[in-house]
Amino acid sequence: ASSNQQKISIAGSTSVQPVAEKLAEAYMKEHPNVKITVQGGGSAVGITSAKQGTAQIGTSSSALKPAEAEGLNQTQIAKDGIVIVVNNANNLTSLTSAQVKSIFAGNVTDWSQIGGSSGSISVITREDGSGTRDAFQKLIMGGNGTSIIKSAIVQSSTEAILQSVKGNPDAIGYMSLASVTSDVKGLTIDGVAPSEQTVSDGTYKVQRPFLFLTKGTPTGVVKDFIDWTMSSEGQAIVKQAGATPMTS
């Protein structure tokens, strides 16, 4: 059977990785002659691997910059909501995006300034360049306009944000919707509570794309896989994997 076996390698974003793995698993079940491997490394690895051809499909969890996009064909396979989270002990349940912005810009430094019980705010952010931060920066901070305060604690993964916020009653952070648990509290922003529904229909604004990147237009089995991913069957699996499908 191996003689006509076809291989696809996928590499890149670690946020997309679990989704891609689940897609691959289901696809391989239907197509026993196709072997798909999924490799992490980060969105940058996705971009370079796709460009170099080391991987047939690169993945990214943020919109590409013009220079990065050059020569690449992009397919958005899912959406991912980004939730502003605080400690469960925090008495606030909602904020406006302007309030979040001033907190992250460092203009508001105590919870009492915005109606919470007093406590100096501990701002936790993701690392520069991460898909999550990119989206947050663009949609909350306003593009390159205002930067996140320099003294903010930087954490490099979804789980690390979760644990940091969980462990500190005065913390605030942001993270992928799929990973939010009852350990922390997701805030309603501008009156919209984050949920798959609100992300999917676009009412919840803070979100980012999950992208499949190919060098040029996909062909053959790669094209078939991507098409399948976009089909209702594939999108159902995206949903199972915790991401928000393109169509609800």
């Binding site: 940058a44 910059k65 520069d128 360049g129 604690i153 954490q155 690390a160």
Partner: protein, 291 residues
């Protein structure tokens, strides 16, 4: 003369292994430089090293706070870790009951096999909250990282120096004890000096581990690229800088991360030169004496 051929062959083979280590080093160094040099050129070496701002999105590439961060974390970790590890290795080699040693030695070695991520999570979930409660601030701090590193370098330094202590010929020990020296005097004046080369190697390897460690440090330092006011403030290490952003960096940003690697490399070389200078000064011959 078949034998002679064997010998020459063996020597050549050994030479090749030695050279291959060099080749590996050269390969990696060349790789780092090739990837990092463009950033140094574009940003300017001095701007890069002494720049106070790291903000790739807006084109600022200065690593000075991280140099301080790395030095601080490493120094603090060595300050706590070296004495603890060496005392512990002395404990194992000279004091601990045999049965205890037989369990402890492998367990300490196993400590070297615990993934950094786990150390990181341990730090994040257990250590950071404790630090926050007792020392204020966010808990993310230089000290938290140093404590983790102290534990992480413990197995390297302890195991290697324990071996160094235990390989000192018993004759020396006997001679000292027979003169009425206490065990501690014997350790301090005979065993320790004779084992010094091994201990220094252990420290150097431990220092390497401390400088090079990434994953655990990332989770507990807070990664704030600012010069810390105290050991309770958050900092960012050079290694963290590379690991944090490498996943997303392209173009100049990517090169700048490797340039961070070059700076780190320079620091390592300076630290090693210092360590080797001490090493050279204190060089003792053991196992010598030909009769």
């Amino acid at each position: 003369m078949a034998k002679k051929w064997d010998e020459i062959l063996v020597e050549k083979a050994l030479f090749i292994t030695a050279i291959s280590s060099i080749a590996i080093i050269v390969l990696i160094v060349a790789f780092i430089f090739q990837q990092g040099a463009p950033a140094l050129q574009q940003v300017g070496i001095l701007n890069f090293i002494f720049g106070m701002d790291w903000d790739p999105t807006n084109g600022f590439y200065g690593v000075f706070p991280m140099i301080i961060g790395t030095l601080g974390i490493t120094a603090l970790a060595l300050l706590m870790g070296v004495p603890l590890s060496i005392l512990c290795s002395l404990f194992l080699a000279e004091v601990a009951p045999d049965k205890m040693r037989r369990i402890l030695t492998p367990t300490i070695q196993a400590l070297a096999g615990i993934p950094s991520v786990i150390y990181g999570f341990f730090g994040l979930i257990v250590l950071v909250p404790i630090m926050r409660v007792y020392f204020g601030g966010s808990g993310f701090s230089m000290l938290a990282a140093s404590i983790l590193l102290t534990i992480m370098i413990l197995p390297t330094i302890t195991s290697i120096s324990e071996d160094a202590f235990r390989s000192i010929p018993v004759e020396y020990k006997e001679a000292s004890l027979a003169l009425g020296a206490t065990q501690w005097q014997t350790i301090r004046k005979v065993i320790f000096p004779a084992a010094l080369p091994g201990v220094i190697t252990a420290i150097i390897l431990g220092m390497g581990r401390a400088i090079g460690e990434t994953m655990a440090v990332i989770m507990v330092t807070g990664n704030v690229a600012q010069i810390p006011g105290s050991i309770f403030d958050p900092v960012r290490a050079l290694t963290s800088n590379i690991a944090l952003e490498m996943g997303y960096a392209t173009g100049l940003h990517y090169n700048a991360l490797f340039a961070t690697g070059i700076v780190l490399f320079g620091m390592i070389i300076i630290l090693l030169l210092i360590a080797n200078y001490i090493h050279y000064k204190k060089k003792v011959t053991i196992g010598g004496g030909y009769l």
